[in-house]
């Protein structure tokens, strides 16, 4: 992940729920009340770029308290995790967060949710194979004119995926989308290359 990576920067803008542990006079604006002090115990949604350091940073006091504590964001709430456990393919990740995996990775860095990590790993693997399947199918649609019998069979199988496939693709997060794009381009380039070989 590069410093200049625009996707990483946008991922860092995802917000997570935080709770301030001490009263801070000058930060009222974070809770929409710029004229008043930010009271201890106030819950504020902070972007990752801010929350991450505030969570880690030590106040320097003897009790080793941090400035803020955080909770898992809505995107990684228990019901979402349960749904992912049941069937990773049935959850539109994009509705949870456009940078779902990026957000989750950050959260795993900050917390010790052991189970979450394994659920996410399984989620990605299951969905990745589904993604590559769709990526190949989309490629075959544009080629349906070529090779009569074969084309018809491909079209048939494409109809099989139908609208359910479209729903699935709409629910991909940014990382999965780039995976889809690469799988699609790879399959297309491979096909073009083979056709070129045949021609010459």
């Amino acid at each position: 992940m590069s410093y200049y990576d625009v996707d990483a920067i946008l991922t860092d803008a995802e917000k997570i729920p935080c709770t301030f542990q001490l009263e801070i006079p000058d930060l009222g604006y974070l809770d929409n009340t710029p004229t008043q002090p930010l009271k201890a115990g106030t819950k504020v949604n902070l972007p990752l770029w801010l929350a991450e350091m505030l969570v880690i940073a030590n106040t320097g006091a003897a009790d080793n308290k941090t400035f803020v504590t955080f909770d898992l964001p809505r995107a990684l709430a228990n019901d979402v995790v349960q749904a992912l456990k049941a069937d990773p393919r049935a959850v539109p990740l994009r509705d949870q967060s456009a940078h779902f995996y990026g957000l989750a990775t950050h959260m795993l860095d900050l917390s010790e949710e052991q189970e979450l990590g394994s659920v996410l790993r399984k989620t990605f693997v299951t969905r990745a194979s589904e993604i590559s399947l769709h990526a190949r199918k989309v490629g075959s649609v544009s080629h349906k004119g070529k090779g009569k019998g074969e084309g018809a069979a491909e079209m048939g199988s494409n109809l099989g995926v139908g609208s359910a496939g479209e729903d699935f693709l709409r629910g991909l997060d940014e990382w999965e989308r780039s995976l889809f794009r690469k799988a699609h381009e790879g399959a297309k380039a491979g096909k073009e290359w083979i056709e070129n070989i045949k021609k010459n």
Binding site: V6, L10, A13, D26, L30, L50, M53, L54
Partner: protein
């Protein structure tokens, strides 16, 4: 309520959009100015917060101030990253154009004439271009660098096509006047809408620059 870093995020979104476009959208001069102004404001605030301590600030003794300073610092750092990433995305694109032989400055001027391309950058300082003055300078100097680099090898064109030619000679049509060029077979005067049968190697650059169109 707007927060520090919100404007920087807008720049990041612009950068994201730019990545997926063929041409460079107008430079967000106003936004860039606003983000840098925000950094300056934050810096002033930090100076004001630290002033009473006379250089002997103890974070453990004044945690609230320490936290405010940290938030200010992180906001500045965030803005810096957004600014750098935005400009880097654009210069990457510009370098790509230079390598591909696209006349960026010419293109930018054309785009500015198009009403859809009109953004914050276009209405700026009278110069109708989607590039900032610094970017125009960058393109010019990068082009010079590339030319100097290429000049080391006279028998190979580093920016030439990687496709081996099928025919030595091709038919071309002239899309815009390009003046007279010298070839092994004498001079050709390239006037608009005329057609020629020429050696591909002689006109490759002109095709890439959009002066000529390859036929057949």
């Amino acid at each position: 309520m707007p927060m520090y870093g919100d404007l920087g995020n807008k720049l990041a979104l612009h950068a994201k959009r730019t990545q997926n476009l063929v041409h460079l959208p107008p430079y967000q001069a106003e936004l860039v100015r606003a983000v840098t102004r925000e950094v300056r404001d934050l810096d002033k605030e930090v100076a004001k917060l630290l002033e009473p301590f006379q250089g002997s600030f103890d974070p453990a003794a004044d945690q609230a101030t320490a936290c405010t300073l940290l938030v200010d610092h992180l906001s500045m750092r965030r803005n810096k990253r957004c600014l750098l990433a935005y400009h880097r995305t654009r210069t990457d694109k510009l370098e790509e154009h230079v390598w591909n032989g696209v006349d960026v400055l010419d293109l930018a001027a054309q785009q500015a004439g198009n009403p859809n391309g009109g953004g914050v950058g276009a209405g700026d300082g009278g110069v109708a271009s989607s590039l900032s003055p610094q970017e125009e300078d960058y393109v010019r100097q990068y082009g010079d660098l590339l030319a100097a680099y290429k000049g080391q090898w006279t028998d190979i064109d580093l920016t030439g096509s990687l496709e081996p030619p099928r025919d030595l000679f091709i038919d071309v049509r002239v899309l815009k006047d390009a003046g007279e060029i010298q070839t092994e077979y004498g001079a050709i005067n390239l006037t608009k809408n005329s057609q020629f049968y020429v050696r591909q190697g002689d006109v490759e650059r002109l095709i890439a620059q959009g002066y000529l169109q390859k036929l057949g």
